[in-house]
């Protein structure tokens, strides 16, 4: 017998459209506590599948027979088994998530941020499962992509739909939480791959230095992409100002938190840079810039249509990481309060440097779990 399945695409629509969604997550509780489907009006119950092998009585009472229930596991096998058990018990609207959390981690939801004044548009790709944000800037038949994820087919299809040619791939820093798709996509489409040189001292490939003064141009109507050196998360971290209106902060400043300085093993060295970037460099910029970060940590950071953005001036009033006047207090906040590192972060950094080349399945496994690039004040 077979049960109905649901795709990550359909769940993503429910999350961003704030639809009431009930999820039964049957992974073991440690994995569930680490990372789960969140956002919108999602209600999640956890009951490991191995506790349900003798019967579903323990959770049956918590759910209605005619209620829509989406069963989720790590890869889609156990959720199918549990969904079948519910189906046999008389539940009428039960689905199993195809591919499980592994597939959810890879889902990208494109959302339009704005039409640019100089022509063209700016899109944000929201990786709901992992909290990664990447950006697609298109103008006059050309496109640039910032902080592209490993699933490059999504960007290629999007470019094809829009009828634009991908010209530039840009990484704001050497990522430690996910494998960059920038280099691979640049090779595939014959575009440039731009990386801050201070993050690229150990890389094994050629790249174009992303540095202040080296503005990039997208399309003939010149959507300007201006690099702004903003170290702290990594020593090379570089922000981008787009069309004089949008500030892509990479992993330096998020909507409700700030970047952590330790993922390359140098918290003590880089905390001063982080302080300087957040409390001096960014302060010299216009308050009206719209901050577009490379991550979110909480589903509460998702705005309308799943967008993640905030006005820079508002963040200086509300973001707790920007309210610490005392430098010593700031220092201890970002070095004493560090959350666990992202899964496989050292291997991910090596992969992004070109030092190792894991196969596709290994790459998928390395990226399991949340991004963990922020420190919360």
């Amino acid at each position: 017998m077979s049960v109905k399945t649901i795709t990550t695409n359909e769940i993503a629509k429910k999350v961003v459209n704030n639809e009431e969604t009930t999820i039964l997550d049957v992974r073991n509780t440690d994995e569930f506590d680490d990372w789960k489907i969140e956002g919108g009006k999602v209600d999640v119950i956890n009951e490991p599948y191995f506790n349900l092998l003798d019967g579903i009585e323990d959770v049956e009472d918590k759910l209605g027979k005619d209620q829509e229930i989406i069963v989720v596991c790590a890869k889609g096998g156990s959720s199918q088994m549990v969904a079948e058990m519910f189906d046999e018990a008389g539940f009428t609207d039960v689905y199993s998530l195809e591919g499980g959390m592994k597939a959810w981690s890879e889902h990208l939801e494109p959302t339009k941020i704005a039409d640019l004044t100089s022509g063209g548009s700016l899109y944000q790709f929201v990786r709901l499962g992992k909290g990664c944000l990447s950006y697609f800037i298109e103008s006059d038949g050309e496109a640039a992509i910032v902080d592209a994820n490993r699933m490059i087919g999504n960007y290629e299809r999007f470019a094809e739909d829009k009828g634009v040619q991908i010209k530039h791939l840009i990484d704001t820093h050497l990522h430690a939480d996910h494998i960059s798709g920038g280099r691979g996509l640049a090779e595939k489409v014959g575009g440039t791959y731009n990386l801050p040189p201070k993050d690229a001292t150990e890389v094994t490939f050629d790249y174009i230095p992303l540095e202040e003064g080296n503005d990039l141009v997208v399309g003939n109507t010149t959507v300007k992409v201006q690099p702004l050196y903003s170290p702290g998360h990594t020593i090379g971290s570089t922000s981008l100002i787009i069309d004089n209106q949008y500030l892509l902060t990479g992993d330096i400043l998020f909507v409700k938190s700030i970047g952590r300085p330790d993922l390359a093993g140098k918290a003590e060295d880089w905390v001063g840079d982080l302080r300087n970037t957040l409390y001096k460099r960014y302060k010299e910029l216009s308050d009206d810039l719209i901050v577009l970060p490379a991550h979110f940590s909480f589903s509460s950071e998702l705005g309308e249509g799943g967008q993640v953005s905030a006005r820079l001036g508002d963040l200086y009033e509300k973001n707790s990481g920007l309210q610490v006047e005392d430098e010593e207090k700031f220092r201890s906040m970002v070095t004493d309060n560090l959350p666990p590192q992202p899964n496989a972060y050292e291997e991910i950094r090596k992969t992004n440097m070109g030092k190792v080349t894991p196969d596709n399945e290994e790459q998928r496994d390395m990226e399991i779990g949340p991004n963990r690039c922020a420190v919360h004040g």
Binding site: N28, T29, D30, E31, P48, Y49, F50, N51, L53, C73, A74, K75, G77, S78, M81, D365
Partner: protein, 75 residues
């Protein structure tokens, strides 16, 4: 390590390693040891969690050439 019975769950995908492990444990007497071989990476944390929830004891586990091995003492 000595075991009463060996379960070969190599090549099986989740949930089968746990389903088979549970069945094999039921056939053992209290205090006897089941040795499980699996290749599904998820088995590592799932078997540990299942053993705990069932009150059994995970005596030892190892990983060699992609094969996970577990020794479980029945409660």
């Amino acid at each position: 390590m000595e075991s009463t019975k060996v379960l070969d769950a190599k090549g099986m995908a989740c949930p089968m390693p746990i389903v088979k492990t549970k069945k094999s444990i039921q056939e053992l007497n209290s205090g006897e040891v089941l040795e499980v071989h699996a290749t599904d990476k998820g088995a590592k944390s799932d078997i540990a969690a299942w053993v705990k929830s069932g009150g059994h004891e995970l005596l030892q586990d190892s990983e060699e050439d992609g094969v996970l091995k577990f020794w479980i003492k029945k409660a």
